[in-house]
């Protein structure tokens, strides 16, 4: 194989080509979708066309409180995710730093994280009720246990030499955690927050199964009842778009907060 081949393993690609291919990757399925619906070979009920979906988003916006749905869903996702981050960060820090805490909590967390969040719905309704906290609780259950383990792993990946160097300079245990382990793990922790935010969004539809009367997930479930496939499409695409926007925001924060990772000579 030529060394200049585009198929070189972990090879290089110019920015221009990268974005051209990215656009192509999005355009091909869109074109296929349009073609499939325009030729009329598929029933509109099974597969609405892109124009139907766009129109649905427009009417949803103008007469069906789309913005309210987006806001309430975003609130639920961010609240559940933030709550789980607030608990998972200190807990993960303890598990990652102290073998005693790891032994005490990690096997337990590993056990619980395999339990399906959906199956907790009846229990959550029983314990938390059916109001806003219930939806937040489902998203919390879906993200928390994974997040704890990821935070612990981020903390464990801080190079031992960084820790020992501080110790030989006379740092106390608290100083090692505060001035070495936390700043060293920060970039990885932000990535963990970014990834778990994505997972939190995937639990939205499940969370809005619980006696909701608003939200994107609720709209999808309701549309299912009336066989409004175009609205289901619209809801799914909107969730994808919001998720993508949040993901990019996290990446931007990463570049701003950790210039040393992006600095090259």
């Amino acid at each position: 194989m030529k060394s200049g081949s585009v198929w070189k393993i972990r090879g290089w690609l110019s920015q221009r080509h990268y974005w051209a291919l990215a656009a192509l990757g999005l355009a091909i399925p869109l074109a296929g979708w349009t073609l499939l619906t325009l030729t009329g070979s598929v029933n509109r009920v099974f597969l609405p066309g892109p124009i139907d979906v766009v129109q649905r988003i427009a009417t949803w916006f103008s007469s069906d409180h789309l913005i309210d749905d987006i806001l309430i869903s975003s609130f639920r996702v961010v609240a559940g995710w933030l709550l789980s981050a607030l608990v998972a960060m200190p807990l993960g820090l303890l598990i990652g730093n102290f073998r005693v805490m790891q032994a005490l909590l990690e096997p337990l967390t590993d056990f619980v994280r395999y339990m399906p969040a959906v199956a907790f719905i009846p229990l959550v309704m029983l314990w938390v009720g059916i109001d806003e906290p219930a939806k937040v609780a489902i998203i919390f259950i879906g993200t928390f246990f994974q997040m704890v383990l990821m935070v612990a792993e981020d903390v464990r990946r801080v190079p031992m030499a960084q820790i020992e160097a501080a110790q030989t300079m006379g740092a106390t245990r608290c100083e090692v955690i505060e001035k070495v382990i936390v700043p060293s793990a920060k970039p990885a922790l932000l990535d963990t927050l970014r990834i778990t935010m994505g997972w939190a969004w995937t639990y939205l539809v499940v969370a809005e199964l619980v006696a909701a009367n608003s939200g994107l997930g609720y709209a999808i479930i309701k549309a299912q009842r009336f066989l409004q496939t175009d609205k289901i499409f619209a809801g799914i695409l909107l969730i994808g778009a919001i998720g993508l926007a949040m993901d990019q925001t996290f990446r931007l924060i990463h570049r701003v907060c950790f210039p040393y990772l992006h600095a090259r000579n």
Partner: protein
């Protein structure tokens, strides 16, 4: 007073079937201001001994005193330079060097004159280590040799009496290593600190050390100690002197004897003559 004094130091890792004796009965005295180097086959415990001196591991039995005080844990009096990954990537070069100033151990009962002196010391270290141009750079922007200069400067920031070095130049190329050798010799004289230097490179050990300690594995122990027959101030051309070469081959031969891993030439010959059938 001795800089370091070890008496019957033993270190055992693990228990039961996985019990390993890493150090067996180590006795050693290091004089104030001495530059002493450690070599030996892998598993001889040279790094373990260094880590015990740093206080990062605690010995199982025996006594260790540094500057007349028993070693009970890490202490800023005994700074350590690691082979790799010990710099803080989120701090600039000057930020790394001044890192000890963030610690309570060095800011307690501190006057503004002390702060000023520390700032002056950081600048002086930048200059001595040839880092003035790179003060505001991040470690990831520096070559391996420059990164190790930062690590050494940071270790010296607190004016340690003893500098412990664990294969600090092991990851550098040969030319950079030669420059670093003269630099560390110069700095150790300037600072007047005792240096304990672990390496797997015999030439490096002889060129830097006034004594070379050869350690042997299974169990880890001090096998022999060689006085280096060279004048105090080392120069590159000394590496071609007969005394240097003779000591080098003696030490290499002894490492081969103690490592228990001799190359069996007869076996290689036989293997190469056998027809290969797979």
């Amino acid at each position: 007073m001795k800089a370091i004094s070890c008496r019957s130091v033993c270190k055992v890792f693990g228990e039961g079937k996985s019990r390993v004796v890493a150090l067996d009965n180590v006795d050693l005295d290091v004089a104030e201001g001495e530059f002493i180097t450690f070599v030996g086959a892998s598993g001889c415990g040279k790094s373990t001994l260094l880590r015990i001196l740093a206080g990062l591991e605690i010995h199982t039995s025996g006594t260790i005193e540094a500057e007349g005080e028993p070693v009970l844990g890490p202490n800023a009096d005994r700074a350590m330079v690691f082979q790799d990954y010990s710099l803080y990537p989120w701090l600039t070069v000057i930020g790394n060097i001044k890192f000890p100033r963030q610690l309570a151990a060095h800011t307690r009962d501190c006057t503004s004159a002390d702060v000023e002196a520390a700032s002056g010391r950081a600048d002086a270290l930048l200059q001595v280590m040839g880092l003035s141009q790179a003060a505001q750079a991040y470690p990831s922007q520096l070559s391996g040799g420059m990164q190790q200069r930062v690590a050494i400067a940071r270790a010296l920031m607190t004016r340690p009496r003893i500098l412990l070095m664990d294969e600090p130049f092991g990851a550098l190329d040969a030319q950079t290593r030669e420059v670093m050798h003269d630099l560390i010799l110069h700095v150790s004289v300037l600072e007047g600190c005792t240096v304990i230097f672990v390496t797997h490179d015999v030439e490096e050990a002889i060129y830097l050390g006034s004594r070379v300690v050869l350690m042997a594995p299974r169990p880890g122990r001090i096998d022999s100690i060689y006085e280096v027959p060279l004048p105090g101030t080392r120069e590159l051309k000394m590496k071609y002197q007969p005394e240097f070469l003779e000591l080098r081959s003696r030490i290499l031969e002894r490492i081969r004897e103690t490592s228990g891993m001799r190359t069996d030439l007869g076996l290689l010959q036989r293997l190469s003559q056998q027809p290969v059938t797979i």
